[in-house]
Structure formats: C-alpha cells, structure tokens
C-alpha cells in the first residue's frame, strides 16, 4: 500500500496509469467517450491507450452523451465494465436521465437481479475563463442520488487508487475530477494500491479550526492553512475523498476537538455539498461547536468570463483565511 515518492506523477497521468493497469488486468473493462482515442482525450487522460489496447477497448463516440451513457449502462448490465469519459461535468446534464433514472435505479427496482458496474469520469470546476456553460461544479446533483457512488480525488495518489477501486466496484460510480488538478504532481501507488471508498484523510493536522475541502479546494485550503500558520492559527485540513459513501466520523472527530469548522466547496452555496456536510456536522457535533459552521463557496452566479470577475467568484485562499479567522473570533492580520 505504499507510494513511490521518488516518482512524482501528474494527476492526469495517474489516471492514465490506473486505466492502463485495469484495461490490462480485466478484458471486460473498456473505455468510451468523445475524442478519447485518436485525439488522446480532451485533457490527455487517455493518451496512448488506443494505440496500446485497440479500437475495441478504447472507443471514440459520436457527440451523444445520453446515447453512449445509456449504451454503457446496458453493456454493464450484460456484465462488461465500461469506463465512460464525459468530457466535462457541464455535459453530464445531457446524460442525467440515463444516470439517475437507469444507472442509479436498476439494481434496486429490479430486485437486485442486475448490477451496473459503470464508472463515469468527468472533470468539473472553473478558473480558466471558460465562462458560464463550461465552468460548473455539479457534485451536489450527483451526490444527492441514492444508487450512485460519488468519488472526488484531490491528489494523483488518490486519483489512481480510487479509480482502480471504482473500476472494480459493481455499483455505478461518478468519478469527479477537476480541470485545475490535471497537472498537479505527486507520488502514486503501484498496481495493487487500491484506495477504499469512505475513508477521509487528514491532509494537514491542526488544533484551532477544522477546514473541510474536497477536490481542487483541498489545495486552496492547504494554501490558506500555510497563511494562517504565519499568524499562529493552526488549521486542520481534512479531505473526505469520497462524498458517497461519506466518512463523517473523521470529520466529526476533528470538529469535536477544534470546536470550529469551515467548509470550502467550489459549488454554489444553495442546497449543495457544503450545506449537506454542514448539516451532518451540526447533527453530530452541535454541543461541541463554538461557532456556526463557516462555508466558502463559489459565488451564487453563473461563472463570468472576465478574469477578474471569475477570480472574484471562485473560493480563494484569502477567502478561506478570512472565514477561519472570523470563525475563531479574530480579525484578519
């Protein structure tokens, strides 16, 4: 279960390794998506895989998100293990009927006769001036639905280990990536390094305030923690790694110790992930909280194109610093 620290691998290449290893290991695994083959993938996650595994295993689809997602679900019912790439989370909306009404329901509504061992990979998030229709974070839409598993790795190690687990899982897994993470480098594990779902990890220990963040926001939170440390404030940064199943205990144990919580979430503030996590923490830690739970979200607007506006909308380290200081009752230095 160890990683090779001497070999830093970019997040996109960690995913590539996971796909390569699982394609080699299990002949039932195949990939489909737009431009994943000859084009090597819009974000180069699938680079080289067509060449290595051939057209039957790496399938370039027409632009038909609903159709090829449904096709993958049908193939999964027949026992294959498709890994679908939805080019960005923004386009998953086209496939939601198939995901929510079919993939998430089939095992239950047919009395456990058929399972749907499908993985749907999709990058979300903003920060590249791609504007309103290409910058969304819709984690909450998918995490809301019973019948799906929802995974959100923030590091290359977790990306590889969680993707391997997802591919071997018999349930439909939504695998949330982030365009801002693809270049991030770090150590990764070997072919047998699988990370189980439902295990949060403490990214940085601390005593004054628990900061909960997932996906790209983990790095925003870690940057904020460094800036807070200069002021003598020690933030404990925790990454849930999977939203469904959710390791609430690790989060709650921390909050009961620190008495303070701030949640950083790239999604919109209303009825989303930060609201859902906050509710669980209020229920589990009410008597230990010394302040209401803070939330740092994307502004409640469609993402603007102009760089300065986009940066103002997204959660930044200084937003998190301000939220933590306010939470523990101090002013920004």
């Amino acid at each position: 279960m160890s990683t090779d620290a001497a070999r830093p691998v970019a997040y996109r290449d960690a995913l590539n390794e996971a796909l390569r290893e699982e394609l080699a290991r299990d002949p039932d695994v195949f990939l489909l998506g737009e431009d994943i083959g000859r084009f090597d993938g819009a974000f180069k996650v699938t680079r080289g895989l067509l060449e290595e595994f051939g057209e039957a295993r790496v399938v370039d689809t027409p632009i038909s998100e609903a159709g090829f997602t449904g096709l993958a679900i049908g193939a999964a019912m027949a026992g294959l293990r498709p890994v679908v790439e939805i080019m960005t989370v923004n386009f998953v909306i086209l496939a939601l009927d198939q995901i929510v009404n079919n993939a998430a329901k089939i095992h239950y509504m047919f009395g456990s006769q058929a399972s749907v061992p499908i993985v749907l990979r999709m990058p979300g998030g903003g920060g590249h001036q791609l504007a309103a229709q290409h910058s969304q974070t819709l984690d909450a839409w998918l995490a809301h639905v019973p019948g799906l598993k929802v995974v959100c790795p923030s590091t290359p190690e977790d990306a590889k280990g969680l993707l391997k687990t997802a591919i071997r899982d018999d349930d439909p897994v939504i695998f949330l990536e982030n365009e801002g993470l693809y270049g991030k480098k770090g150590p990764v594990g070997g072919p047998d390094h699988l990370i189980p779902f439902g295990q949060a990890v403490v990214r940085r220990p601390g005593t004054h305030c628990t900061v909960i963040a997932h996906s790209r926001m983990v790095w925003v939170a870690l940057q904020a923690a460094e800036e807070l440390a200069v002021q003598g404030v020690e933030a404990e940064v925790i990454d849930p790694r999977t939203l469904r199943p959710l390791d609430l205990e690790t989060l709650a144990n921390s909050v009961r110790r620190t008495g303070h919580a701030v949640i950083v979430d790239e999604g919109w503030p209303e009825y989303g992930i930060s609201a859902g996590l906050a509710t669980h923490l209020y229920e589990a830690c009410f008597d230990w909280l010394d302040a209401p739970i803070g939330r740092v979200n994307c502004a409640d607007v469609p993402m603007p194109y102009a760089k300065n506006l986009e940066q103002a909308a997204l959660p930044t380290p200084s937003d998190v610093v301000a939220a933590v200081l306010a939470n523990i009752g101090r002013r920004v230095a």
Binding site: F30, G74, A78, F110, P117, D171
Partner: protein, 337 residues
C-alpha cells in the same frame, strides 16, 4: 400429417395460448387495480397481444430484450411465471422484483428480459448496450429493443439509430406503433408518420407490418433478427397496432373516437387468429374452449397466490440500493457506519 406441419400446428397453438394468457392476465390485472390491490400506473397490453407474442417468439431464449412500461405481455410471453408477475403488480415479497419495481419495472434476467422502464425512450440505449456487449464478446445473440410511436420522437432515438448503424450493432429496433402517445395521436406528434423511415436515414433496413396479425409480426421480426444475427447489421421493424384500453388505468380514453375503436376491435388479434385455427382445422372449438379455461385457471391461481403472499418487510426498505452497500441503515444514506 408431416412432422413440419405438426410442428407448425403446435407453434400456432402456442402462439394462441400465449396471446390468451396475456389477454386474460391483463383483464384480471385491471380488476385488481379497480379493487385497489394494484397501485400507481397500470398500462395494459390488451389489443397488442399479436405484436408482443409475434415479436418474442421470433427470438432465441438468449436474445436479450428491453421494453417500455407496457411490458407484462413481454414477460409472460418469455415464460416468466404469472404468479411472480401478478405478485409484483401487487407489491408483494414474492414478486418478480421483490415488490420494488411494480408494473412498470419488470425484469426477468434469467429469461434475458432486461425490463421494464418508466421514462419514454429511456430504455432504448440500454438495448443498444446489450447489443454492444454481444458484439464485444463475439456472440451471435441479437438484442431487441421495443418502444412506441411516442418514444420515436425522443432525440435519443436518433442517437441510437446513429450508433447502431455506425458500429454495426446486432440490434433490432422494434417500434410498436399503437398510433397514440398517451392522448396525442400520431398525426399530431410526428412530422413523418411512417416511423420506420427514420431508421433508413441511418442506413438501417426498416419496414412496417400489420401488428394485429401474429404470424405477420413473427415473420417480420424473424427476418429482422436474421439480418442482425447473420449479417451483423441493425434492423428496424414498425408494427402498426392498436390498444383497446386507455393509455393506462388513469386514462378514460375519451380522446379516441368510437368509430376508430370499433374498426380496430374488428381486428382483434385473438378473434382473427381463432378463426384461422378453426378454419384450418388446427384446433376444434372444444379445444379452444378448453385452452381458454386452462389459461383462466392459471390466471386465477396467479392472482390468488399474489393476494395471499406477504408484503415486503419494511425493515428491507433500503436493501438493494447498492450491489455492495457500506452501511445497513434501514433508511439508506451516505454515511459510513
């Protein structure tokens, strides 16, 4: 009598029995619904028996089939135990899907019947995926996906025709055109009423037949399945049929006019086929009456079984949400234990 004729006559008797079973079952289900023992939506196949039986009997047992929410007939024609189907309609633990699916979500995976879906058009790409798996594994099965005239206007149908034609998938698209999408007639919904022509736009051989004639349906689907199985090409068959009841039990059926209903009643697939059986001396009137009685006994037994079966324990509410769950909370939820 030569062996071929004997087999053919046996086939004809089986076709007839299968249609009677669907008709009697659906009539009984309708009564159970009126008595409050079946809830939700109930979509009956009365009038469409030839379309259903002719299609299903043209398939091999290992050819996977998907359908819409009007699918009791498909399950019965494939050989699913009528007890399990009726118990599912009544929401009992002995139901085909453990009471979890109900009328619109029947699946019998052992008999390669992959359901039973409530979203109009939503099941079509699933059939495509079953065909994809066949091709991936180098099998010679054929997937058949059934849907209606209303569904044909969903955009996903174009996506599926395109991928089937592009990838030479072994699939038969079966359009069961009963000329109404709930309360909206075909002329008011489709710019081109010959629905099969849409498949031709994607290079898929397609044609239309009389859906009230079980032999015509079986012949057409047999040919379509042959194209898919032997030539590894998709095919599309449109069956022109008519349902004698409303869209569902909630539909008072006032939109369709009485003359039209009467004209189509005269083409009742059970009545016309009975005439053929008698006319060609394949069955006598007594044999037909005996067959109908036998089927009624089966339906009565299935209903009694369903009524006497226990309900699903409430403690099982969250069982089956996942193939591999991580908690045993009786109301589900995302949290690790």
């Amino acid at each position: 009598m030569s062996p071929d004729v004997t087999t053919e006559h046996a086939d004809m008797r089986n076709l007839f029995r299968s249609m009677i079973l669907i008709r009697r079952f659906e009539e009984r289900a309708s009564e159970e619904y009126m008595a409050g023992r079946i809830g939700g939506f109930l979509h009956l196949a009365i009038g469409e028996e030839a379309a259903v039986v002719g299609t299903v009997t043209a398939l091999r047992p290992d050819d996977p089939l998907t359908s819409t929410y009007r699918e009791h007939g498909q399950a019965l024609a494939r050989g699913t135990d009528p007890r399990a189907v009726m118990a599912e309609l009544l929401g009992k633990s002995t139901g085909l899907c453990g009471g979890r699916g109900g009328s619109m979500h029947l699946m019998d995976k052992e008999r390669a019947f992959y359901g039973g879906y409530g979203i109009v058009g939503g099941s079509i790409p699933l059939g495509l995926g079953l065909a994809y798996a066949i091709r991936y594994r180098g099998g010679d099965q054929v997937a058949v996906t059934m849907f209606g005239d209303g569904a044909t206007n969903q955009g996903i149908v174009a996506e599926c025709f395109n991928m089937a034609g592009l990838w030479d998938l072994p699939i038969v698209f079966l359009i069961l055109n009963n000329q109404y999408g709930m309360g909206t007639s075909l002329e008011r919904a489709a710019a081109e009423a010959d629905l099969y022509t849409r498949a031709e736009a994607y290079g898929i051989p397609a044609w239309k037949v009389n859906g009230m004639d079980v032999l015509a349906v079986r012949d057409a689907v047999t040919e379509a399945v042959r194209i898919a199985r032997d030539e590894r090409n998709p095919a599309c068959v449109e069956l022109l049929a008519y349902r004698y009841r409303g869209h569902s039990m909630s539909d008072p059926d006032t939109v369709r006019d009485a003359d039209e209903k009467e004209r189509w009643r005269a083409r009742d697939p059970l009545i016309t086929f009975e005439r053929v059986l008698l006319g060609e001396a394949i069955m006598t009137a007594d044999e037909i009456a005996a067959m109908k009685d036998e089927v009624q006994v089966v339906v009565d037994d299935a209903t009694a079984f369903a009524e006497e079966s226990p309900e699903v324990p409430v403690s099982d509410l969250a069982d089956g949400v996942y193939a591999h769950p991580w908690n045993d909370n009786p109301r589900g939820g995302a949290l690790m234990p």
